[in-house]
């Protein structure tokens, strides 16, 4: 009789290679889909999979086949009331029943898209690629970087250096008591009887002598047995159990500042969004709790929710300092620098009321930068205006300030280069 083979543990995911090839082939569509998804999602739920739609015709594999036309006979089951010679109107859409194999069913489904789910990892992969993140950074972002060992009670195995002596000895003691209790009780009884016998023993009393001898033998046997209980047994050993826990350290707040004046069009906002997402992702690796504060401004600044932040549109002039002032107020009111790690991210097209730019620099330099762990500014337009120039003066003195121009997604990452580099060095 043959053996039944259990293959369940062998060769899972044999199709992974094929799946990768499929994704590779449809990279463009997937990229597009990821892009759309990022625009549609909140910053916080960026890390999810996504359904990708690919038009069916793009993935079809052509083969020679018959088209409509010509003459053909098709046999169908389930005749109700046709007789020979009946004439039937040609069904619309020309699906005359296929040629034997269920083509009718297939074509009936029409030009639906081929839909499949991109996993979270695959989604992030594409997102990172889009941002041109270096590989080291990708792995950093993809993994939880810091580990801490926690005590987690005791375990019965471990390395000698974790041996908990007191605990082990206590265990040994109780084991010895438990295993020896019966024998010792008996021993005590026998000893008492022996003492009694000895006390009443008269010379020449053969019966009594025999009993004494018997008692002595039994006492001896019991002593040996009690003695044989090991002092310390491997099962007594207890080790300190330590488990590895991921520790995103404490909490952070991230301020997203964006110019929403008329000159910021959708494309620029999209770009800004990616900038914010990247910082957010970075922060999620390091902090347990992250709060987001969205401040938008034109000539006045106002704190809004994410939806309004990205999608509302204002017109009019620009006074950047208004946002910085608001940020400082919020910090004072809600986020004490002693408790919170404060990160700032500002996106703008560089347009500012020219008298205001100097004030922005002062505000940043004197008030905000001392409070922030990191402040990044990205200008989503090419031409340098006075805001850019003023900010540029801050660069030398402040190592936790970064600024960059970005006109496409792949240019965003360099803004954070220093931030990631520092962390990378620490991790390495």
């Amino acid at each position: 009789m043959q053996q039944i083979i259990d293959r369940r543990l062998a060769g899972k995911n044999k199709s992974i290679g094929n799946r990768e090839r499929f994704l590779r082939r449809h990279k463009e569509q997937i990229r597009e889909a990821v892009k759309r998804a990022i625009d549609g999602r909140g910053i916080r739920d960026i890390e999810r999979g996504e359904d990708i739609h690919i038009p069916k015709r793009d993935i079809s594999e052509p083969v020679f086949g018959h088209g409509q036309g010509g003459v053909r006979d098709v046999v169908h089951p389930g005749n109700k009331d046709f007789v020979r010679g009946d004439r039937i109107a040609r069904p619309k859409g020309g699906q005359g029943g296929g040629s034997g194999k269920g083509q009718a069913g297939d074509s009936g489904e029409g030009e639906d898209d081929f839909v499949f789910a991109l996993s979270k990892e695959e989604f992030m992969q594409v997102f990172f690629e889009d941002l041109a993140l270096p590989h080291l950074i990708r792995t950093q972002l993809a993994e939880v970087p810091e580990w801490k060992y926690h005590r987690a009670g005791f375990s019965s195995d471990g390395t000698p250096n974790n041996l908990h002596v007191v605990r082990s000895m206590r265990g040994a003691l109780s084991r010895r008591i438990a295993l020896g209790a019966g024998s010792r009780r008996e021993l005590q009884e026998l000893e008492e009887r022996l003492a009694a016998c000895r006390a009443t023993l008269k010379p020449g009393d053969a019966v009594m002598a025999a009993e004494v001898k018997d008692l002595e033998e039994r006492i001896e046997a019991l002593r040996v047995r009690v003695k044989r209980i090991p002092y310390l047994d491997p099962i007594d050993l207890r080790y300190r159990s330590r488990i590895k826990v991921a520790v995103p350290t404490s909490k952070a707040v991230m301020f997203c500042l964006m110019d929403v004046s008329g000159s910021m069009d959708e494309g620029r906002k999209e770009l800004s969004k990616r900038f914010f997402i990247l910082l957010y992702l970075f922060l999620t690796r390091h902090y347990e709790k992250i709060e987001l504060v969205f401040i938008r401004h034109h000539t006045q600044a106002q704190e809004v929710d994410e939806e309004n932040f990205f999608h509302a549109r204002e017109t009019g002039g620009t006074v950047v300092s208004s946002a910085l002032v608001l940020m400082e107020e919020i910090i004072k009111a809600r986020y004490s620098p002693a408790e919170w790690n404060i990160y700032g991210a500002q996106a703008s097209d560089g347009d500012n009321w020219h008298h205001d730019s100097g004030r922005c620099r002062e505000l940043l330099n004197d008030k905000l930068l001392p409070l922030c762990r990191y402040f990044a500014y990205v200008q989503v337009a090419e031409e340098e205006q006075n805001l850019w120039e003023e900010y540029a003066q801050l660069l030398d003195a402040n190592r936790h300030f970064a600024m960059r121009k970005a006109t496409e997604a792949s240019m965003i990452y360099p803004v954070f280069r220093d931030l990631f580099k520092k962390e990378g060095a620490k991790a390495a």
Binding site: Q2, V63, F64, R84, R90, G96, G97, G102
Partner: protein, 527 residues
């Protein structure tokens, strides 16, 4: 249910089919235990009984190898055309994703089993199945399909059960090596092109030689060298002469005879292919050839397996091995499988091969056991004879087309209420050309049989000519069947052909009168 195929040891004297089932050795004291969860012991216990029962009917099978797999593994196997191992290609990834999606959404149950036409015959049992379902699968796959693989003439002729797995392992490694050497893109593109022609990579009328993997490998080197030399010969001498014989009439075509095996022709004659590319063409061709019998025997194969699980399990019940609960459970599933929605029903998508095949084998048995006068008139050679040999014969020597042509009975046509519709482009309406009545039986049967003829299902395309003297373009010819035109995707396929051929390709569609009615042309691909 997806079989894959057979043959090493052809027994010199194959055992003659039994006239009558052998008697039961001993009735069991009580039925087999029937919890819903299976265990290895139980599967073995059931398998023993099923095997013994199958032997009583004289089913001749390869040794069986039962393997338990998870749903995920089932999807894996499903996606790579039912084989346990195959080379990597994006289209299998697509297949997997589609299968997985449908499965997760509950749109589709997975096939209960996959059985591989190999020796020993491997049947996959899915972990999620209940005990009753495992019994059904074992009877269906390990005895039904298995005996079909071993017995049917197409499988015996076309496939080599003993070496297919080895060959696929080799193919996988070879393709992987090519990917490493020549880049994923190059290999992928090339495989795409080969796949487009996979259905045209079979010699329909010539039997392939049977080679072990070792032979294949040993010959590969020679083949590469030889093929290249041959191609060089072909191309070297001729263009030079062309200048001299400029005015010579294009009397001689190359190839002399039209060739139906496009992939073979390309493998041997395409001027620009590198040795590794020729080998990949060969791999795709070999795999296509392996599946060739399956495409032609789907109804017979599934019908046969369904007939036998039905027969075996019922016999086991009569013998007292199975409980009522087990019976109800597999019968429910059996009933679903053989359901044939009538035309016009939302679920209708052609004739269900399980339904038709099962009905036909059951009907043959009926004709043997209790023939009516009509049956005696239609089937004089089997009516009233022992059913086992008659069924055995009907399994061994036919393919779907001839099987239906031979055995579809008037009574079954009435039961299934089969009718034929003629769809003539020239007419504004469809016409019911025959129904299940005396005047129509033969016509319906003939039409249905024809429907299963690969020749009418797939367009007949042949290599017609190569312009050796001029631009080296390749001309293919489509011989229309009942004036049916090619699908619009033809031009896409032609692009693939051009990629393989390396020069321009044209396709002529020829109608019954021999006139070229349509022409497609694709220029040489940019190198």
């Amino acid at each position: 249910m997806n079989p894959v195929s057979d043959i090493r040891s052809r027994p010199k004297h194959r055992p003659l089919a039994l006239e009558q089932p052998l008697p039961l050795a001993a009735r069991p004291g009580e039925p087999l235990p029937a919890p819903s969860d299976w265990s290895f012991e139980l599967v073995e216990q059931y398998h023993r009984v099923i095997k013994a029962t199958a032997e009583r009917f004289g089913l001749d099978t390869y040794p069986n190898q039962l393997e338990i797999i998870t749903a995920e593994q089932m999807m894996d196997a499903y996606a790579s055309v039912g084989m346990p191992v195959n080379y990597r290609h994006w289209s299998y990834g697509k297949e997997f994703i589609a299968t997985e999606k449908n499965y997760k959404r509950g749109h589709m149950g997975l096939a209960y089993e996959i059985v591989i036409n190999s020796n020993p015959c491997i049947s996959y049992l899915m972990e999620e199945n209940t005990m009753a379902m495992q019994a059904l699968v074992i009877a269906h796959a390990a005895y039904g399909h298995n005996s079909f693989f071993k017995g049917n003439y197409l499988f015996r002729m076309w496939t080599d059960a003993s070496s297919i797995i080895d060959y696929l392992v080799y193919a996988k490694d070879y393709v992987a090596k090519c990917e490493e050497k020549h880049g994923l893109d190059a290999v992928e593109e090339f495989l795409d092109s080969c796949h487009a022609l996979a259905n045209h990579g079979v010699d329909r009328y010539r039997r392939p030689s049977r080679k072990s993997l070792a032979q294949e490998l040993a010959e590969r080197q020679d083949r590469e060298a030889y093929a290249q030399r041959q191609v060089n010969d072909l191309w070297r001498t001729l263009p030079r002469r062309a200048e001299k014989e400029d005015a010579a009439p294009e009397s001689k075509r190359f190839p002399d005879e039209p060739q139906e095996n496009l992939l073979y022709f390309i493998e041997k004659n395409a001027p620009l292919l590198e040795p590794w590319q020729r080998e990949i063409v060969r791999i795709v061709r070999k795999v296509a050839q392996y599946f060739y019998p399956q495409r032609q025997t789907q109804t017979m194969n599934e019908g046969w397996a369904t007939f036998w699980h039905h027969k075996l399990l019922n016999t086991m019940y009569d013998d007292g091995f199975l409980t009522d609960g087990v019976m109800i459970e597999w019968l429910k599933s059996h009933t679903n499988v053989i359901y044939q929605p009538p035309v016009g029903h939302p679920a209708y998508s052609g004739i269900n091969p399980y339904a038709l095949g099962f009905a036909m084998y059951t009907d043959i048995k009926r004709i043997c056991d209790a023939p009516s006068d009509e049956d005696r008139a239609w089937f004089p050679d089997i009516a009233g004879t022992p059913w086992l040999p008659a069924l055995d014969q009907a399994m061994r020597n036919f393919k779907d087309e001839s099987f239906i042509g031979q055995y579809l009975s008037p009574r079954l046509m009435r039961e299934m209420r089969l009718f034929a519709i003629t769809d003539d482009e020239g007419q504004s309406e469809l016409e019911v050309s025959a129904i299940h009545d005396d005047a129509g039986y033969r016509r319906v049967r003939e039409s249905l049989s024809h429907q299963y003829d690969l020749g009418s299902r797939e367009p007949n395309i042949q290599v017609w000519n190569v312009n050796l003297r001029g631009d080296r373009s390749l001309t293919l010819r489509h011989f229309q069947h009942n004036d049916r035109p090619l699908h619009d995707s033809a031009v896409e396929v032609l692009k693939h052909v051009a990629r393989l051929w390396g020069f321009g390709v044209q396709l002529e569609s020829v109608n019954a009168k021999g006139d070229v009615s349509k022409r497609w042309q694709v220029p040489a691909p940019h190198a």
